[in-house]
Symmetry: D2
Subunit: 346 residues, 4 copies
């Protein structure tokens, strides 16, 4: 394993961290040299997640162990914890890929308003790159500090990019109705994810108040070159994995259905983005456990409006998978390395 | 049981029909005198639904048996089958409550466009009353021909009625994103409801093309007194019961949050409609197996917009329960008779 | 409501307690005069379980409030808490129905061995009656202190009673493989019932070590008049409700299939026990939310052995429903009062 | 891809066939040269299973196309269809791995009794090898005709092998209580797997009458060198994947707990069999989508009995995965090639 890149995972005991481990142990170009946790130091990860028993029995170390041993550091921590680690990596010229929210927002004021914290190292934040791979591949390549996108934003931004890029939308406001599996709520126990409560249940939450809103509006606005607003309603699906975003688009008067499909041809060479054939409908089932984003387009002739359906696995393309995709780019690997997983058909 | 009203159910082998049986066997004012099926004549209903074993072992008869024996006839059949039965009942002065789509649309042209059939007895259709109980109680009382509302329309119309009644909406177009459990698809086997396909899956269907659209637009337009259009997207939830409709409303500029809550006070005396307290979120979990419609209101101060969340059990308030509620009114019973079911808490 | 019996529920914030509330608010002979909780005093029960919102908004009081106000007291608490309350009720001549484990075991040594506690008031325990209704109806009638059976024991004892009563078993040892929905684990959050962990999962637990074992062996031994042992393995089903017990019986050599079915005719007049027709298989689906126990019998001609499948709803027949059934008997009501619920067919 | 082995799949439109495709497209030593179906000839497999869209869009051909083009042929068909194909392959010296039941039973009389058909080519059947990899590795290596084990038998045989091999069992009869996810029922629509019927349901089926019984008894008897009988009860779990077999073992009087664990050390070098540490419990969750068989041992000191819990993914180790494992052996590849999948942790 001498020639493999040394990678480490801060926060491996959380769901995104554990998913990184699961994907990276089958990645042929890297070696996991250290994993860390704040609550479970000294325990094997396989105690928390028995799936790793006999396959990957490494013991959780400290966050600083990870930084010391690895050259590429993934971090999956609650917001506010990563700035100091990213700063150390910056000084040591190491790659830092943050799966949390600390390096996603360009404007400190947004971070203050939505997360209640300041940017302590403004210089550091000037180096951050928003890791939406398909959009920012060119600048990711030369970056060492990645703010990996949130799960909802990934599904929404990939779904809307061709619309905004082609400027076929009539208004600069979008209604976005998203639904996510329960892994999005993470490993912590909660009433909402207590099985008897969650099972056979369905409801929205944090309506108009979810922290992914500024991230979505920031990136959509950059795509369009104008200020975009979104009415965003996330819902909790009683399943484990996956996000479906149903996005409502008012089309410009002169736009035809063909124009819509043409706009999405921009994805023709993207391995991980599949624009479905007309008549087919995207389903989170067929992206589950994979790094694909499936998109279906539904033109309503009666109302001359468009519905875009965009599906991802929230833990893969919406977190660990996209982070690895970004690492592949930074390290010069094939972008699909370790990510050519096909969703189970059933 | 001499003084009980004689009721019968055409199409008792289907889901809505079987749910009628389940509710009516515990209704203190009626007696089920006949149930019918086209495919299972001669079989006990408990062969199809073992829940009835030992409790209600009646045998399925013919549709005409039902009409002959009962004074109040419920019918749950595919569209196009009920006109002839309703016509017989009309002549015999019997009550006919159709849970299907044959007596919901005021304009024959809508029935032609969306269902591909004509109204053969136009006189008969002039007598039909749209059975959305809380709106049309006064005319239901004196009617003998009820077009019981569709499940999606029930959740949406109850959710939006106070908005349109108070005219606090800015536009006459609404985005409505609905999600339904699988019982909405009925008893017939299908790929979409094959367990390994459906489980851990989620997707929209019939986007902008669902037959409930003309019904929704017709009734919303009547409420507002103007033509309303809706962008309606139903989704299939991998659970058994319940509908959540997430409804997006642009508010008039001068409307305050208080105005919104005041508008919904119109429901203060409605037993089956519960407007939740501010901060609470409607969840289909807590209406499941009950006749309640739970509504929560979410004012987005940042964008001055409103999200209305409306939940029902698709088989109860969205079908069998509302049909019984209508029967209770027509027969002069307490409107809640046989329907005071509380959803299981878990 | 003057003539109604005053009932109260200690521990109404737990699952069995809340289920008692749900069933009792539709019981025509009783009035709930007080409900209590140790952790949520002063809060409406509907805050914990929104299903009660607008229907039953009573506030949780103290345990002693319940005892003071009610004449029939149900208690659903962890073991060790009920002896003192039962003692007060005994002195005040009130009925005390314990849904926990404090009055189920005849021998203090079993309570010591399996629960680690002593019987402090031995006199009190001499008055306890094991509330398996169908077996002990005659002594329940005259008792004021009921130890309501555990959920697993209820399914197993009702399933095996005819075998032991008819002495058609060859051995005094049984293999019992049971599976329960997650409500059996109660309201407390746990790793095992965290949705992403529990969903799409299945596993046994407490193999050979579950506290229901002494209760099962005690009652089976009484039925047979000999010491019975059981190898009992409970499993956690990723669903909300219901227990299936699959029970393996070695038949005496000269027993025929007809003898087996004849043995179960002892249940012919039991409303809540349904012995299915040969060829049908019991399914928890069709007892869910109801007080029924469905039993199917499967004679293996090749091996001359019997499999008994016994299904109940763990929260109803396995807890709150059977407790009410016992109350009905003690109070002289129709045994089915408030319990004629039919399981949803879908 | 010139040096890759040419493989083909007969019956690729079924669940086991599709799972073979999913696993083999990421196998580095083979190339899928043809897939077939009887009902969907000419259609891309991705029409049936959209997960393959854009990844593997091959069109379904005829069964004979597969045999002609491939050197290693997998077949997944209903019983009775494979003898003729195996015969052709035998003559052409091609490898034939049957995932169905046609080459599992040594005695034609068992095939006649349980499947109702004869062995037409008795010579051919003398060449068949039962493909339980860990047991029969040595004879698989030199075989070209593999009867791949059934899903239930795989879980049971791997679970019991060390017991019978060490002869620590007291009796030659076992109670085996198994539970399987719905994919075991395959792609065909059925009442039992209609979502509203299956969801939140649980029940046994084919009690004492399942066709896997002769296969289980045959192989257990070979292990022990004596005739073994099993009381086998399969149950349908309302989840997609996985089998749990709970196996009840009477231990010889002089056997200690240590003897039990020592018996299972026979698996110490088996990559795909994980004997869990004492105190841990096997869960299908952690073998799902993987080729692992997880086994936990539960010694009941009170009764001196043993419970063995054995878990596999029914579609992988119980079908496609084990078939590929056998192919790897026959072709001289590393036995784990293409199968080093780790179950998702959530």
């Amino acid at each position: 394993m001498q020639n493999r890149i040394k990678v480490g995972i801060i926060g491996a005991s959380g769901y995104a961290g554990a998913e990184l481990v699961r994907l990276l142990i089958n990645h042929n170009k890297v070696e996991i040299v250290s994993i860390s946790s704040q609550s479970y130091i000294g325990q094997p990860l396989s105690h928390l997640y028995p799936t790793f028993f006999g396959v990957y029995d490494a013991v959780l170390e400290s966050d600083l162990d990870v930084i010391e041993k690895a050259d590429v550091i993934f971090a999956s921590l609650p917001h506010g914890y990563c700035e100091k680690y990213a700063s150390i990596c910056d000084k040591q010229n190491k790659v830092f890929i943050d799966l949390g929210a600390d390096f996603r927002l360009d404007q400190e004021v947004d971070y203050q308003n939505w997360y209640g914290l300041n940017y302590n190292e403004k210089e550091l934040h000037s180096k951050q790159v928003y890791g939406l791979t398909e959009m920012n591949r060119d600048i990711i390549k030369d970056s060492k500090l990645i703010g990996n996108p949130g799960c909802y934003p990934t599904s929404i931004l990939l779904g809307l990019y061709p619309v905004l890029k082609s400027k076929i939308n009539k208004t600069n406001h979008f209604v976005i109705d998203s639904k996510s599996g329960t892994t999005g709520a993470g490993k912590s126990l909660s009433e909402a994810t207590h099985f008897p409560r969650c099972n056979e249940s369905f409801h929205p939450y944090k309506i108009g108040d979810h922290r992914h809103i500024p991230e979505i509006e920031q990136e959509l606005s950059k795509m369009q070159g104008e200020q975009i607003t979104v009415q965003f309603t996330p819902h909790l699906l009683p399943i484990n994995r996956g996000i479906v975003s149903t996005i409502y688009v008012d089309l410009n008067d002169n736009v035809s259905k063909e124009d819509v499909y043409n706009a999405y041809k921009i994805y023709d060479n993207e391995y991980f983005i599949r624009v479905l054939n007309e008549g087919d409908v995207a389903d989170l089932k067929f992206v589950k456990y994979s790094n694909f984003c499936d998109i279906s387009l539904h033109y309503d002739k009666r109302l001359h409006k468009l519905v875009v359906v965009s599906c991802i696995d929230n833990m893969v393309k919406g977190a660990a998978g996209q982070a690895i995709q970004n690492m592949n780019i930074i390290c010069g690997f094939d972008e699909t390395e370790g990510l050519k997983i096909v969703a189970p058909a059933f």
